[in-house]
Amino acid sequence: MYTQALDSPQPPDLERRPGSPGGEPALERRFEERIERDEKIEPKDWMPEAYRQTLVRQISQHAHSEIVGMLPEGNWITRAPSLRRKAVLIAKVQDEGGHGMYLYSAAETLGVARAEMLEQLLDGRAKYSSIFNYPTLTWADVGAIGWLVDGAAIMNQIPICRCSYGPYARAMVRICKEESFHQRQGFEIMLALARGTQEQRAMAQDALNRWWWPSIMMFGPSDASSTHTAQSMRWRIKRFTNDELRQKFIDVTVPQAEFLGLTIPDAALRWDEASQHYLTGPIDWSEFKAVLQGNGPCNQERMQARREAHEDGRWVREAATAYAAKHGSRRHE
């Protein structure tokens, strides 16, 4: 899902770095051999420029997704309906910020500064996961996000713990450890609603109606339309295809919806005995494209919030830098 936009044209800054020759056959061969042996590639190791660029884009998109992802759920912190839910939600959103940090940190090992990545996010050149361009309209949306969106994310993230690039793999291990409560708290919210009053059940069903399709679109275009997947799989950055992960998610989630007593908004959804999978109706990829291109329900609001936070905070960051310059950054301890 963090590779959703990898097929689109690259931003100019991520073109070849100076000093990187167009392929050294011996080095490339040794690199491929290391990948074959499932060895981890670390920051100072030689790597093909295309490998480095793919990772920078994927890791930074993943980081941006975490940061932007703080907004739809952060939207409900002040309105959480109990103090316990409020505390859990703050902790979850805080975790997401933390995950963004681990990922920016991993991306920086590849030669791109966080300031540069943020600039690309804020001016629209860099992408983030499509799912966060949908609004959270009710409290049930918070549950749906935890259950479906974090569920999809976990499915995607666990294989990346074994990806070939060391810092990214280690960041993912850390993230996966922390992620376990995110999906559980979302499902717990849905369960409380599903077992509640008629109005609460309706709220839960409405949220599922709005979040189901965007969640399965999170896994990215179908394998047939995804051109970079093959190379990413060869480099062991990607371990499963989009369709494989999507199918796994659907198979796991449909029974959960049944347990909640909620109906998945897909009249064509059926169990296929032959393949032992749930098959869905057709996915509306035109919506996915529109959202990726910036025309989703709240792409503009998300970007505006991030831009404002960055701009409004500039004087703060400058003050801290000025203070450190005046007093030596080791003082102030």
């Binding site: 002040t78 409020k86 805080q94 077992r195 936070a309 409004d312 003050a319 000025a322 203070y323």
Partner: protein, 251 residues
């Protein structure tokens, strides 16, 4: 051993932490740097935790079966007992830091003293809160100094915020009948001693921040007596909306 003043006293502590935590919750996702989003969320969580423990205790003392959520979500503004400083809007990051620092310095003195309270339950809650508050103060004091002694712009912003918020500090240090009764019972410290320590600590940090200490201002409208500024009503409307719209349900 509780008196009629115990319930309102605990409520003051509880509501101050609750309201301040709610304000910080508004920042998440909008802070000047990702690291500060995490820092503010951390403080919000600590304050919320304090509020929950204190509200639960208050509800027990009251003895009318109100739990932490009943107290948080079903009281109107006039029944809230937080100090008015806590409910002031976030404004920019500098204003938030000034508000936070003034309250952190106060809560630290208070919780340190309350750790020795004759009320064992309160002493336990305070002992835990002391460690949290020490960290909050480290954070807010550190930032106040950076902003006060940073750039001309940052200095101007926090100096203005300090002038505007200073009048609300009067309430922190001026005892009323409830404070005095709690002090007499050994439950709470005398605010006279606390005032001296607070002023000394605050003075030291303001000096380091190259900020002028505003002139003393007495301010008679004390949130701890339920006399609030207009801000609290709006905050509670947002905070309490769901439980009030769907009364009696489980979330």
């Amino acid at each position: 051993m509780t008196s009629a003043a115990t319930f309102p006293y605990i409520l003051r502590l509880a509501d101050t932490s609750l309201v301040l935590g709610q304000r910080l919750g508004e920042w998440v996702g909008h802070a000047p740097a990702l690291e500060e989003d995490l820092a503010l969320a951390n403080i919000a969580l600590d304050l919320l935790g304090q509020a929950r423990l204190l509200l639960s205790y208050a509800g027990e003392i009251e003895g009318r079966g109100r739990d932490e959520d009943a107290l948080a979500f079903l009281r109107d503004a006039a029944e809230f007992c937080n100090v008015s400083l806590a409910e002031q809007p976030n404004g920019d990051f500098g204003r938030t830091i000034v508000r936070q620092f003034l309250l952190d310095a106060w809560q630290l003195e208070l919780y340190e003293a309350l750790s020795g309270s004759t009320d064992a339950r309160l002493a336990g809650i305070a002992a835990k809160a002391v460690k949290e508050t020490r960290y909050h103060l480290r954070f807010s004091a550190g930032w106040l100094v950076r902003l006060g002694d940073g750039t001309a712009e940052s200095h101007a912003r926090v100096a203005a915020a300090l002038e505007e918020l200073w009048r609300f500090t009067d309430e922190l240090l001026t005892p009323d009948a409830v404070d005095e009764e709690m002090a007499a019972a050994g439950v709470a410290p005398s605010l006279a001693g606390l005032r001296l320590r607070w002023e000394e600590r605050v003075g030291a940090v303001l000096a380091q921040a190259t900020l002028k200490r505003p002139a003393a201002a007495s301010y008679l409208w004390h949130g701890k007596r339920g006399v609030h500024t207009e801000h609290l009503g709006h905050m509670l409307a947002e905070m309490q909306h769901l439980p009030r719209t769907f009364p009696g349900v489980t979330w």
